[in-house]
C-alpha cells in the first residue's frame, strides 16, 4: 500500500520521553521515558539526536515534529515540545500523524511535568490506550478534575486553516508561487530540501507540503528535520523531501548536492534548476495561484485548491481503469495519457513517478478486493468529470457494480483470491464483513428467523483476533440463558451467530451516534444502556481500573477495527462523586472479575478521569461504549440478567452491574417504538459509509444511487458492499458522513453467497 502510515496502531502513543539537550561536551540524552519497558533500541538511540537536530532559540517554547522511517518504510511520528526554561524537550512517539492533538497533549504533559510528576505517570498511563475511533473523542481529566485533555479522532476531511497547524504555518510563511513551485517539484519527484531556521516552522512546512500531494503520498526519503549527523542524506541520488535546519544547511557544500530544489522558508524563496512549472497548463497554474493568493483563506480552501489541481492532472485515471467481468481490474497507462488532451507529456512523466504508481496500485487493490473507496479526491473527480461531461463518474461506478455482481455470482471466489493475498488485518475484516454480508435490514427485522437456534459456535467464526466484528463470535456468554430481559428478544437470544448481530450492533451504534448527542450523557440512554454490558464484558479481561495497572489491550490492534471496538465518550464528566463512587467502583471491579473469562478482544475504554478528593480510586473509568454486541444482549449474561433496569442512567459507573442486560431491551424498544425505520435508515447510511453527504457523484460504485429502487435490487452487491463498509474504516471519519441515503441495506438478503472460505481464515 502506498500509505506510509501504519494501519495497525495499538496505542495513542508508543513512547513518551523527556530529553536533555546535553551540554557542550555531552550529547543529548533521554532523562526519563514511559513506558520504561520500551525496547526499540534503534529508536531510543536516535531520538535524542533527532530531538535536538540543531541549536534551538531560548526565547520561547518550540513545538516541532520529526519522523523516523522503519525498514518497511512506515513512519513513526515524533512530536516534540522544547521548553528552554525546563531545558528539556518532551517527546511523544506515535504511529499516528495527529500533529495538533499531540502538541496539545504535550502541553498537558508539560503542565503535569512541572507540577506533579506522580500524576504524570498516571496520566500517561491513562492516555496510552487505543486511539479513539474516527468521530470519537477521548477525554482525560487530571489535576483533580480541573484540567482535561481531550482528543477527537481526526476525520478524512482535508487539512484546513487554522485548525491544521502545519498547513497554517506553511500557508502563512510562503507565497503562492513558492507553494506551487514546490508542489510541482514534488510531483516530479525531485530532490527537495526545505530550509528554515526554526525547527517548528520547518517540520510544519515539510508536513504540509507533503499533504498537498493528497491523494498520493511521498514514497521516498522523508526527513522533516534533518539532524546534523545525517547531513549526507542530502547527497542521496534518489528523490527526497528533507527539512534542513539552516545551521545544518550551512555545513553543506551545495555543489555536492547537485540538482536539488531548495525552498527557503524564511526568505520565502524557491530555487530550482528545473522548469517543472512549464509542464503545467497555464490555466491550471493561474487558477491555483488565484486560490492560493488569498492570504485570508480559511478552511480547506488551500487544500482543496491543490486537490482540484491534482484532479485536473490525474483525475482521469478513472477512465483508464479497465473493468471486465470476471477479470482482475487493471489500469491502462496509455488510456490514462489520453485522458487529458492538453498535457499528455506531463501525464507521461507522472505515469513514471513512484508516487503515482503507488497510488494506482493502491486503488486497484481496493477495487479488486471488492472494497471500493471514496474520498474527497473522488468527489472532486466526479465534479470535474461532470464539468467535462465525460460521464466517467457514472460509467465507472456502473461498471464496477456490474463487476462486483458478477463476482458475487461466482461465489466470491475471486474476492477470496484477492483477499488471500491481502494483509491479514484486511483479511479478517473482510471475512467478518462477508460473514455479516447478509442483508443488514433483514438482519434487523428478522433476527429471530434468521438466527440459528442452537448455540452459536464461535469457533466457526474465527474473526476473533482483531476484527472489529469479533464480538459475537467471541461472546462466551451462554447463548441460551433464559433470563434475557425482554421477551421480544427471546428468539434472537438463542443463538448469536456473530454476524448479523454484529451488524445489528453496528447499526445501533450508528443510529445512536447519529441521533443522540454523544455528550448528552443523561439522555443518551440508548448509548449508555447498551454500552454497559459492553463495558463489563469489555473490561473483564483487563485488570480492574486501578492504577498502576494498565488495561492490557490485545496484542495487535488494527486501527481499522478500533473504530468499533472502542467507543470513547466525550461525555462531560459528571461532578465529583466521592464516597459513593468508591464503593461503586468496587462493585464495578468485582463485576469485572466475574466476567473475567471473557475474551480479551472486547476491551473497551472510555473516559478516564482522575478522581479528585482524597478517597479515591485514583482513576475512574467511565464507560460509554457503543452498542455493538447485541449478541451479548441477546444472550444476556446470567449474572446480570435479573437485575436489569430500564431507566436511562446518568452515571454509568453507579449502576453498571445491574444494567448489563439492557441492550436487548433497548433494541426492542427501538423496534417497538416505530423507530425501526429510522434506525434502519441510519443503518443503511452506515453501510454506505462511502456515500458522501453531498450530491456530488462520489465514487462508490457499489452504492445504489436511486433510492427508490433500492428495494428491488435484491441480492446483488450487498455483501461486497459490506466488505467495503467494513474495510473502509481504515479511512477515518467515514462515520462523520451524515446519513444521506437509504440503501441496499434494506434489501432482504437472505441468500448468502458467502463461500466457506471466508470463515476459515485463521
Amino acid at each position: 500500500m502506498g500509505s506510509r502510515v501504519r494501519d495497525t496502531v495499538r496505542y495513542l502513543f508508543e513512547l513518551y520521553c523527556e530529553i536533555s539537550p546535553g551540554g557542550c561536551s555531552k550529547e543529548p540524552f533521554i532523562i526519563r521515558k514511559y513506558p520504561e519497558s520500551y525496547k526499540n533500541e534503534e529508536e531510543l538511540k536516535n531520538i535524542p539526536k533527532f530531538t535536538f537536530p540543531c541549536p534551538l532559540e531560548n526565547t520561547h517554547v518550540h513545538h516541532y515534529s520529526f519522523v523516523m522511517t522503519s525498514v518497511d518504510s512506515k513512519y513513526t511520528f515524533c512530536f516534540c515540545r522544547f521548553d528552554p526554561k525546563a531545558n528539556s524537550a518532551l517527546v511523544l512517539l506515535s504511529h499516528l500523524p495527529w500533529h495538533d492533538i499531540f502538541y496539545k497533549l504535550l502541553n498537558c504533559i508539560a503542565e503535569l511535568n512541572n507540577s506533579d510528576k506522580g500524576e504524570l505517570i498516571s496520566f500517561l498511563e491513562a492516555c496510552r490506550i487505543r486511539p479513539p475511533m474516527p468521530g470519537h473523542t477521548l477525554k482525560i481529566t487530571y489535576n483533580a478534575g480541573k484540567s482535561f485533555f481531550s482528543c477527537h479522532s481526526p476525520d478524512t476531511k482535508l487539512p484546513s486553516i487554522p485548525e491544521n497547524c502545519n498547513l497554517t504555518e506553511y500557508f502563512s510563511a510562503m507565497d503562492s508561487s513558492c507553494m506551487i513551485g514546490l508542489w510541482v517539484s514534488l510531483l516530479h519527484e525531485r530532490r527537495v530540501a526545505i530550509v528554515a531556521s526554526k525547527p517548528s516552522r520547518l517540520s510544519a512546512c515539510v508536513q504540509a507540503a507533503n499533504a498537498t500531494l493528497f491523494p498520493m503520498s511521498w514514497q521516498h526519503i522523508f526527513i522533516p528535520i534533518l539532524p546534523k549527523h545525517l547531513v549526507d542524506y542530502l547527497l542521496a541520488p534518489m528523490p527526497f523531501l528533507i527539512g534542513v535546519p539552516r545551521s545544518v544547511m550551512e555545513t553543506v557544500r551545495l555543489s555536492e548536492i547537485g540538482d536539488v530544489v531548495i525552498l527557503d522558508v524564511d526568505a520565502n524563496n524557491l530555487k530550482t534548476p528545473f522548469n517543472d512549472l512549464d509542464d503545467l497548463p497555464s490555466d491550471l497554474v493561474s487558477s491555483l495561484k488565484k486560490a492560493l493568493s488569498d492570504k485570508n483563506a480559511l478552511g480547506d480552501a488551500v487544500s482543496r485548491a491543490f486537490l482540484r489541481a491534482l484532479v485536473c492532472l490525474i483525475g482521469g485515471y478513472r477512465d483508464a481503469i479497465k473493468i471486465e467481468n470476471g477479470q482482475r481490474i487493471t489500469f491502462n497507462p496509455e488510456g490514462f495519457i489520453r485522458t487529458r488532451k492538453n498535457m499528455q507529456q506531463l501525464l507521461k512523466k507522472i505515469l513514471q513517478s513512484q508516487i503515482f504508481q503507488q497510488f494506482i496500485d493502491e486503488r486497484l487493490e481496493l477495487l479488486n478486493s471488492g472494497r471500493g473507496f471514496n474520498d474527497e479526491f473522488e468527489i472532486e473527480c466526479n465534479c470535474y468529470a461532470d464539468k467535462l461531461n465525460t460521464g466517467s463518474g457514472q460509467k465507472l461506478k456502473q461498471q464496477y457494480r456490474d463487476w462486483a455482481k458478477t463476482v458475487k455470482k461466482e461465489g466470491g471466489a475471486f474476492f477470496k483470491i484477492v483477499m488471500d493475498k491481502a494483509n491479514p488485518a484486511v483479511q479478517s475484516t473482510v471475512k467478518t464483513v462477508k460473514q455479516g454480508g447478509k442483508n443488514v435490514k433483514s438482519a434487523v427485522k428478522g433476527l429471530r428467523n434468521k438466527i440459528p437456534r442452537t448455540g452459536s459456535k464461535p469457533s466457526s467464526i474465527n474473526t476473533a483476533d482483531d476484527s472489529r466484528f469479533s464480538c459475537g463470535s467471541v461472546t462466551p456468554v451462554p447463548s441460551d440463558s433464559s433470563d434475557s430481559p425482554p421477551a421480544h428478544n427471546t428468539p434472537s437470544r438463542d443463538a448469536p451467530p456473530a454476524l448479523p448481530l454484529d451488524l445489528l450492533t453496528e447499526m445501533e451504534f450508528l443510529f445512536s451516534k447519529k441521533n443522540i448527542r454523544r455528550d448528552s450523557y443523561p439522555n443518551s440512554s440508548h448509548n449508555l444502556d447498551v454500552s454497559l454490558p459492553e463495558k463489563s464484558k469489555t473490561l473483564s479481561p483487563c485488570p480492574p481500573p486501578r492504577l498502576p495497572e494498565r488495561p492490557q489491550p490485545p496484542l495487535r490492534y488494527p486501527i481499522i477495527s478500533t473504530r468499533e471496538l472502542i467507543d470513547l465518550s466525550d461525555a462531560p464528566v459528571p461532578p465529583p462523586r466521592s464516597v459513593a463512587t468508591t464503593s461503586q467502583t468496587t462493585h464495578f471491579v468485582s463485576n469485572i472479575v466475574k466476567n473475567d473469562k471473557m475474551p480479551e478482544k472486547n476491551f473497551h475504554t472510555s473516559t478516564i478521569r482522575f478522581a479528585e478528593g482524597t478517597n479515591k480510586p485514583k482513576l475512574k473509568l467511565t464507560m460509554s461504549s457503543n452498542q455493538r454486541k447485541v449478541s451479548q444482549t441477546i444472550a444476556p449474561h446470567p449474572l446480570n440478567g435479573g437485575t436489569s433496569k430500564l431507566t436511562p442512567d446518568v452515571d454509568l459507573r453507579s449502576s453498571q452491574e445491574c444494567r448489563l442486560p439492557k441492550p436487548s431491551i433497548r433494541f426492542i424498544n427501538i423496534a417497538t417504538k416505530g423507530k425501526f425505520q429510522e434506525s434502519c435508515g441510519s443503518v443503511s447510511d452506515l453501510i454506505k459509509l462511502d456515500d458522501s453527504p453531498t450530491n456530488l457523484e462520489d465514487f462508490d460504485p457499489l452504492t445504489c444511487r436511486e433510492r427508490n429502487k433500492v428495494e428491488q435490487i435484491k441480492s446483488s452487491a450487498d455483501s461486497a458492499l459490506l466488505h467495503e463498509y467494513g474495510l473502509d474504516f481504515s479511512q477515518f471519519g467515514l462515520l462523520d458522513h451524515p446519513p444521506s441515503s437509504s440503501s441496499q441495506a434494506s434489501q432482504g438478503n437472505t441468500s448468502t453467497s458467502v463461500p466457506k472460505g471466508w470463515t476459515t481464515f485463521n
Binding site: I221, D232, P239, R253, L254, S255, Q352, Q358
Partner: protein, 205 residues
C-alpha cells in the same frame, strides 16, 4: 564530519538487482560498516560512504543500496537519476537472478542517465553450486556495454577491486570532462570539490 573531509571527488554508486543477491553484503564488506552505522532503521534507506585514494587524490564513494526500495514494483527513474555508477548484481548460483537482468537493464536504460557507468557483478563465487558460468556473464556484460566482475562478498574476493575500479573510472571521466555543471544556479561552487554529473563523457560502451 564527512562533509568536512578533504576529498576531491564525490561519486554516487547505486546497487540494483534481485533481492538476496548480496548487494548489502557487498557494500558492507567494502565499507566494513563504516559511516554511517545503519540509519536504515530510522530513515528507511541506508547508504555507506568510503573514501579511497586514487593517484594520490581522495575520492569519496557514496554507495546507496536499493534494499529499502524493494517494496516498489519497479524502481523508477527517480532512483537512478543522479547516480554516477550503477552496479547490477546477480547471484552466480541462482539462475533466476540472472534471468532478471534484462528487466533491470530495460529499467536502467529507460530511466538512468544513459552515460552512467554500468557494472555487472556476479556475486557469491564462494558458492560451489554455480549455475551461471563466468563466460555467460561476461558475454552478457559485453553485449550491453558493461564492465564485468565476479565477486564474493563472503570471501572479500574482488570487492575492493570492484569499487576501486569504479573510482578510477569515474575519476577519469571527471577529469576528461572538467567540471560538470551540476550546481548551476545553486549557490557558490566549491572549487575544491567536484562531482561527475550529466556531463561526464568518457563512457565506455
Amino acid at each position: 564530519m564527512p562533509d568536512m573531509e578533504d576529498y576531491k571527488f564525490l561519486f554516487k554508486v547505486v546497487l540494483v538487482g534481485n533481492a538476496g543477491v548480496g548487494k548489502t553484503c557487498l557494500v558492507r564488506r567494502f565499507t566494513q560498516g563504516l559511516f554511517p552505522p545503519g540509519q536504515g532503521a530510522t530513515i528507511g534507506v541506508d547508504f555507506m560512504i568510503k573514501t579511497v585514494e586514487v593517484d594520490g587524490e581522495k575520492v569519496k564513494l557514496q554507495i546507496w543500496d536499493t534494499a529499502g526500495q524493494e517494496r516498489f514494483r519497479s524502481i523508477t527513474q527517480s532512483y537512478y537519476r543522479s547516480a554516477h555508477a550503477l552496479i547490477l548484481v546477480y547471484d552466480i548460483s541462482c539462475q533466476p537472478t540472472f534471468d532478471c537482468l534484462p528487466d533491470w537493464l530495460r529499467e536502467i536504460e529507460e530511466y538512468a542517465n544513459n552515460k552512467v557507468l554500468r557494472i555487472l557483478v556476479g556475486n557469491k563465487t564462494d558458492r560451489e553450486d554455480r549455475e551461471i558460468p563466468r563466460h555467460i556473464g561476461e558475454d552478457f556484460a559485453q553485449r550491453h556495454g558493461m564492465y564485468f566482475l565476479e565477486t564474493s562478498a563472503k570471501e572479500a574476493e574482488n570487492v575492493e577491486r570492484l569499487f576501486m575500479e569504479i573510482a578510477v573510472e569515474l575519476m577519469e571521466q571527471a577529469k576528461c570532462k572538467e567540471l560538470p555543471k551540476y550546481d548551476g544556479s545553486l549557490g557558490p561552487i566549491n572549487g575544491k570539490t567536484t562531482s561527475v554529473g550529466d556531463g561526464s563523457c568518457c563512457l565506455r560502451s
